[in-house]
Amino acid sequence: MTTTSSPAPPASAAEELALRRQSPLQRIQHALHAYPAISPALILVLAVIVFTAANPNFAQPNALSLLVQQTAIVAALAIGQTLIILTAGIDLSVGAITILSTMLMATLAAKNGIPAVVAIVIGVALGVGAGALNGWLVTRVNLPPFIVTLGTLSIFTAIALLYSGGQSVQGDDLPALMTWTGEAIRPFGPGTFYVTTGVVVVAVLYLIVGFALSQTAWGRHVYAVGDDAEAARLAGIRVKRVLLSVYTVAGLLYGITAWVLIGRAGVASPNAAADANLQSITAVVIGGTSLFGGRGGVLGTLIGALIVQAFATGLSLAGVDDQYRVLTIGILVIVAVSVDQWIRKVKA
């Protein structure tokens, strides 16, 4: 409730009720409403503390480096997923598009003798085309995103397997530029914390998309379309054009991730990133972006992806059965969506 410049005595019991001090719970609700990334950030900090206490190796530079690398692929795919979920859509074809791009660029370079740069550009372009196809089906054929991407998930997976014959392209056959994303950068000297160039690429993607979402008109329109598409349309926003751009940009991000994936795995395999679909959605949801659209952002998603990997690494270092990780992630997803439902009921 805003207080006016000259506070008049409340005229009725209802107004008095509205003017009363907020309970601590309401304050939390308001804070989360304004900054939905707070709760995942708290969970991440808590997880790091607990896992370090359980096994001090968790906080070792090498373990942290590995954690960041292992997060990179899911985190990168989750950027595109965040964009699509912000428009109240969903993308089940993330993994399939990435694999198809991976196999195309690796095969072109290793078996068809096409220069690495050209192969990468063609692979990324395929990601753009695949994303645009999703977007076209959603906006022109008016199919629900769930159905569209469920269909293209099978289509792209099948094409990737048919094209590659189910065979991986081995790292030795790949040109250096293609595995460049796996090279380590050691800013603090040997034996300390390091990142790969792929991790840097992903970080740059986060910065660019984060900037576009929060600082440009396009970003506003993405939020508005997910928040209330009809209101956006009436405000003069070309909703279908925004949606098409979101799916296409997501495809571009998947294509670039395909390159990062080759560096990370050191091999182009049609069976990699098999559960990337659900992992990317999990990261987005745990990161506080609403599945109903219009709320959230990539910062939360990055934290969400880190949480998932921190639980995997932490629980394994603590010597706990892997099923406890699966169980915990399941609980986190449900808690995250419940919190989202709660904070959208915020009142003035």
């Binding site: 409403h33 939020y223 928040d227 209101a231 956006a232 349309r233």
Partner: protein
Amino acid sequence: MSTPYHPELNPEFNADQVSTSQTREDRQPVLQARGLVKTYGKVVGLDGVDLEVYPGEVLAVIGDNGAGKSTLIKALTGAVVPDAGELRLDGKVVSFKRPQDARDAGIETVYQTLAVAPALDIASNLYLGREERRPGVLGSVFRMLDKKGMKKRAGESVKRLGIQTIQDMGQAVETLSGGQRQAVAVARAAAFGSKLVVLDEPTAALGVKEGNLVLSMIEQLRDSGMPVILISHNMPHVWQVADRIHVQRLGRRAAVITPKTHTMGEGVAIMTGAVTVLPKDQEALVR
């Protein structure tokens, strides 16, 4: 000139009731519709409707459910393309294919379904679809929004309409009351409409106090010289703010009356077809 739907004479109304001060022959309408027709299959939405709005007036449009109010408004604002008829804006023939065309021409509409994005803040909603960028390289190359400037100007737009209860332009719209949300929508229309503001049932979902807030905003708008079309079911509200009242009935204009010449009861009687108005009694008000 349209003919009345029921041609029989009714003695209750005569030309003497219409004061001569209401003649507008010397003034050109801002927006003029002639013979608008819109059918949906066999259902007739508009059956040759005429309408005109003059500078600096509030024209109310009343009518029973199904009389064609909504279709009429949609036809005026580009949400529906009429099958036949002509629209003139400042005397020039215009045709709107989509809402954006009408908006580009200077006609702003506040829709009954509040067209605001609840999770976005007030300033973002005011500038939704017409965001302003920062000057220089930041704006032209990096496409950065001028958030500060938009917030400041949004505050000025809201204040200009005499709204005191909204202070923080960074507040999400969903934290506002119904009246405050309506105020945001009206403020947006007022800020960007250069020719005409159309308000579709702006007080329908509001309490007495909030309804009055919106009415005073409408008066502010009119006093600033902006013509307003107000669609409303609420007769006391219409009689409070309207300069002229367009009565829509069975897809046609049944009459144009004023709060001075007709009572609410008479207005409702025309609306429901209990009485009809002859064209000769209408000339002074229509033209």
